[in-house]
């Protein structure tokens, strides 16, 4: 069988796992793709390589394709998010110093209480909080801001959000440059285990179903190469499905640890995949359900309502018209292509491509193309509903 070479850029994070598994377990080869994974030093570099055509696909932060399609940061071509690679998987942490002050004020770290945590953060800090995120257009920054802004003590000048490369996050907290951070695994666990940081919340405690990474590609390239795109989406879908099976977890940890793509020891990989997080050095493990989801609850489906939620934050940051930003975002999240690529191999699809984000407090059965499928939970910590107001799916 002849194979087609395909280059996919990624950053060496745990949530690049679907791409690594796609290659290592030969899901790509089965579809006739010779998948080359190309490690990138930064999100900016990954974005540039995608724009220049050095890579065909990219492991991207979910807001990146939308920000690029809106022309933020340069005159970029339109970028499509073909599918969601992972849901959640980030952690919010504080410096040793801040955590100690919060503790003195009576805060107990249960690793699942956003309200009490933000109250303690604001009660114990007088100076603006310096908070690290991995990129300006990241779900990390969106979740942090969404969370902190709900606190009664919040004022915009009380937080100062800075971008720091994930591998440098731990050192930046230790050196006192940062008071807090939100970062993807393994860098949260590394900060806690080696640099004295305290992990205070999983990203999932802010929004239970936040799309974290997506598979991105240039819109014009997608249009010109429909078969390759469909094949790549099938490959990633199969890899994500494999990763979503709990029985495969030990093997997944071993494959990722041995893979040259991540270059991380297995103790750095296990927490994200198992959801057993050590919130500080020496602490007992805290189990977080759905800490990082690769497949369950239709995790890979690129919901247009998720795209609109992201668009609203970007519009607010940059003073853009909300309707315009939403239109670009909806066009970028290709739920249409997802259906076209995956329905023929028997993948069940939700009845609509939009839902009321935040409406499902539990796993919920909803109408699907094959009858019924399980979605959710997808609630926000403050109980908000995000309803974009047209035809969409409501949990029943």
């Amino acid at each position: 069988m002849t194979t087609t070479p395909i280059a996919c850029g990624y950053l060496p994070l745990i949530d690049s796992a679907p791409l690594i598994i796609a290659q290592e377990l030969k899901f790509a080869a089965e579809e006739g793709l010779d998948l080359h994974l190309v490690k990138q030093p930064s999100w900016s570099a990954l974005r540039d390589r995608l724009v220049f055509g050095h890579i065909d696909f990219a492991h991207m932060l979910s807001p990146m394709p939308i920000a690029m399609s809106l022309g933020l940061g340069g005159a970029f071509p339109k970028i499509d998010a073909l599918m969601v690679l992972s849901v959640n998987g980030t952690v919010i942490g504080t410096s040793t110093d801040l955590a100690a002050r919060m503790g003195q004020a009576g805060w107990v770290n249960s690793f699942d209480n956003p309200q009490e945590t933000s109250a303690a953060v604001f009660a114990t800090s007088s100076k603006p909080l310096r908070i690290g995120v991995p990129f300006p257009f990241s779900m990390h920054r969106m979740l942090l801001e969404y969370w902190l802004a709900q606190d009664p003590a919040f004022q915009p000048d009380r937080v100062d959000i800075i971008t720091i490369a994930p591998p440098k996050m731990a050192e930046a907290v230790r050196s006192g440059m940062l008071d807090m951070f939100c970062v993807g695994e393994p860098w949260g666990s590394v900060a806690a285990q080696q640099n004295g940081a305290v992990l205070a919340l999983p990203g999932a405690s802010i929004w239970k179903f936040a799309p974290e990474k997506v598979l991105g590609a240039r819109h014009d390239w997608v249009t010109q190469n429909p078969e390759l795109c469909h094949a790549m989406m099938r490959v990633v879908y199969k890899a994500a499905k494999w990763l979503g099976q709990p029985d495969n977890m030990p093997l997944a940890v071993e494959i990722l640890a041995r893979s040259q793509h991540l270059d991380l020891p297995d103790h750095a990989i296990d927490p994200a995949l198992s959801g057993n997080i050590q919130t500080s050095a020496g602490a007992a493990l805290t189990k977080t359900r759905r800490f990082l989801t690769f497949h369950d609850s239709a995790a890979n489906f690129p919901w247009r309502s998720q795209a609109c939620w992201i668009a609203d934050r970007i519009a607010a940051w940059h003073g853009l018209d909300q309707a315009y930003a939403r239109a670009k975002a909806r066009a970028s999240f290709r739920s249409d292509l997802y259906r076209r690529a995956l329905a023929p191999i028997g993948v069940d699809m939700p009845g609509a491509s939009e839902k009321v984000e935040g409406s499902m407090t539990h796993q919920t059965a909803v109408a699907s193309t094959k009858g019924e499928m399980i979605l959710g939970p997808d609630t926000f910590f403050d109980g908000a509903l995000f309803d974009i107001g047209s035809e969409k799916l409501v949990g029943n």
Binding site: S42, G73, F76, I162, T163
Partner: protein, 194 residues
């Protein structure tokens, strides 16, 4: 040369940083600042308000710079160059040299171009030196490994050095591998058996 451009270079490696400054100074630009890391970037950018920021394409601190260009309150926000392909030849030259640049919006291209050309030339020189250095280091370490493998064969099979090398080469050819791969395998196995 028309100057008065404030140039900021982000480069953690002192030798490379010095080379770039020298090249820019020689070109007639006198207001050049170098910083090594992201920590300094935040404060320096606010204080200095540079017209151009030069940074290695592979530097992980690029994302920090990218963020600052969005949120800085400074009236002049540096934006990433090259990605919009305004100058295809320059873009390709910069990428192959490993250079990325951030330029304050509205700066005339003819003022920027000489700076970029100077930086590209210097980055390219470094790229070449680095790959030559890597190649030299690799060659040296390969030779040591092959010498050890030859020594092991000479001792075990009581053969001459030439015979030992020919044996390595024949084995490599037979297995479709490189001589260094076979030599490494032999040395590793010998170490394990000791």
């Amino acid at each position: 040369m028309q100057t008065e451009l404030k140039i900021l270079v982000v480069e953690p490696e002192p030798a490379k940083a010095r080379e770039i400054i020298d090249a820019l100074m020689d070109g007639g630009w006198s207001d050049v600042t170098v910083i090594g890391s992201a920590e300094a970037l935040v404060t320096t950018l606010k204080k200095q308000d540079p017209d151009i920021v030069l940074i290695d394409l592979a530097n992980p601190d690029r994302d920090t710079l990218e963020h600052l260009s969005f949120v800085s309150n400074a009236k002049s926000r540096p934006v990433a160059m090259f990605v919009d392909h305004t100058d295809e030849a320059m873009t390709q030259a910069a990428i192959s040299a490993g250079l990325s640049a951030y330029v304050v919006n509205g700066l005339q291209m003819d003022r920027i171009k000489p700076v970029l050309e100077t930086a590209i030339a210097r980055f390219r020189m470094f790229e070449k030196m680095q790959s030559e250095l890597d190649a030299a280091k690799r060659a040296l370490s390969d030779r040591k490994t092959i010498d050890r493998a030859k020594g092991l064969l000479m001792q075990a099979r009581k053969i001459s050095e030439d015979e030992a090398y020919n044996l390595l080469r024949k084995t490599a050819m037979g297995q479709g591998r490189k001589v260094i791969e076979v030599a490494t395998a032999l040395v590793t196995a010998a170490d394990l058996l000791q």
